[in-house]
Amino acid sequence: MTIAAVGDHEVTGMSEQTSERGDQNDHEDKRVVWVHNEDNGRDYEIKARDEMTIDTIVGELYTKLNTQRRSDDRLRCEQGGESVLSFLTLTLEAYLEAGHCRDLRWLFAGGTGGA
């Protein structure tokens, strides 16, 4: 079995800001939130403005995941494991200013049964 160390889905540069250039009327800087779906190993990229709430960003994630929110879903920061879902009312700017998950790499996990 050969496993590639680097592939098409590898992500880098989590904390960089990107600019929207496709629309000349929209020059707002956007950040990139990277989400790794632990259930299937796939990555998702969400572009978000500072004034967006974490709840809105999470909503966009669920749209990309094509699934509904469940109470036992978890979304946490890859560095340290802090729950993102504790900060749904914060704007992205406030979330970062408060020192949460500075590189914006999140991990999604759906409900898991057992024990």
Binding site: I3, G7, N40, T67, R70
Partner: protein, 173 residues
């Protein structure tokens, strides 16, 4: 009652297992988290996972995965002995102590399976085939489906419980 795992076409299982591991490793998550893949054969692999707790050096554990039922069911999974990748014995250095996991999970060692299954450990959560070898009643949305889950799910959940504050050290020094 959930169906018990039965072996699937082994060529398809091996190809799917390999593809899903490649996809996971290509994501970069394993490299960032210090996971190391040790292929054994087409249907089996070991993943070295680092366990961390305060004021201790990193301690490796070895998750042995089997794809005999994959991906109609999850992979089989046990903690393995580093010397030969056999299923680690009760009280072994290679069995971690897990305290208050963040999802429904228990690690049973010395578990009595139905006779057709040759395991002793039960990593008791919906991400292992072993879980479905004995009677359980998970919520419907927690049940493994090949549409939503891959071997990534199994590895990630075990990596999570091997980190602070859930990891309590090895069962034996």
């Amino acid at each position: 009652m959930l169906g018990r795992p039965v072996p699937v076409d082994q060529e398809i299982a091996a190809a799917t297992f390999k593809a899903h591991l490649e996809e996971l490793w290509a994501s970069g998550r394993p490299q960032r988290s210090g996971w190391r893949l040790i292929p054994l054969d087409a249907l089996h692999a070991v993943v070295e996972l680092p366990a961390t707790r305060p004021e201790h050096p990193v301690e490796p554990y070895y998750l042995r995965l089997g794809a005999e039922y994959y991906d109609a069911w999850p992979v089989t999974a046990v903690f393995a002995d580093q010397k030969d990748w056999s299923e680690a014995a009760a009280g072994s250095r290679w069995i971690p102590k897990i305290v208050s996991p963040p999802f429904e999970f228990a690690l049973h060692v010395g578990y009595s399976y139905p006779a057709e299954y040759k395991f002793h450990q039960l990593l008791c959560f919906t991400g292992t085939a072993n879980y479905y070898m004995v009677d359980h009643t998970p919520q419907e949305h927690q049940v493994w489906t090949s549409e939503r889950h891959t071997v990534s799910h199994t590895i990630a959940r075990m990596a999570e419980v091997l980190a602070h504050p859930y990891y309590g050290g090895p069962s034996a020094a």
